[in-house]
Amino acid sequence: MGTASDRSWAIFVARTILGVVFCIAGIHKTFVYGPLEHAGRLFVEPYADTFLPVWALWATGTVVPIVELVAGALVLVGFWTRPALVALLGVLVLVTFGHLLVQPATSIVPFIMPRSTLLLVVLLMPPDEDRYSLAYLFR
């Protein structure tokens, strides 16, 4: 492995890119679509013919943009990183299930897999080595 400083830089790159991607998506879904519009267009309508209960589709479709926004911002600045990563991991598992329920297996390649890879890089590295973060600054 590289030096601790080099690893910190590597974690910084992975964490900030992951944070930007999720935070931007969260901002767009929350403030341009709106959580309810997001839920209706992307969760309720496409899954209307599946066994999934409508209340669950509304609930998850409304919550996902806010989770992406808040957790993405926390990951971006490196504060409460672990809980935020776990929240984003939950979103990724949820949307993987959702995509594969109605689309081919390759549908998760462009969006979900790259994000999952970045998330794993950050999640599997020791938190102490994430030096270029707010959590490290205020510890």
Binding site: G2, V21, A25, H28, L118
Partner: protein, 146 residues
Amino acid sequence: MTRTVERAAAIFLVRSMLGFVYLFAGIQRIPNGTPFDYAVAVLEIGLGGLLLAGFWSRRALRCLALLIVGITLYYGIDGLRNPMGVTAMNIMVVNFYILPRAALIIVNLFLPAEDDLLSVDAIVDGRVRRLSRGAQAAARTPSESV
């Protein structure tokens, strides 16, 4: 010895690949002709060249880390101004521009600098000389003991 050479070769592969990516990205950017393009091209060619030679490669990697994070922020804000799809950011830019470069930068940073022997850094700080002396000593030892 073999492990050392294999590790050096592996590091050389990812370092030179990243170096070539930035070097040629910079060269191809020059004909675009705006002052911003020239500035970025100079940066990319310089950092790519340093990586290719393996000279100040860790410093160059840290500069590239800042550059790719800055570029990601730029495209993130651009995605909010001109959204493309539900995630706002241009998926082609994220998947074919940002992520492959970020992955190479991350892998390079995770690999140990001291094993990067096929580089100018290793020649300058004497690692190659020490290694070859050690190999010569190891080769002499069995015949001297007979």
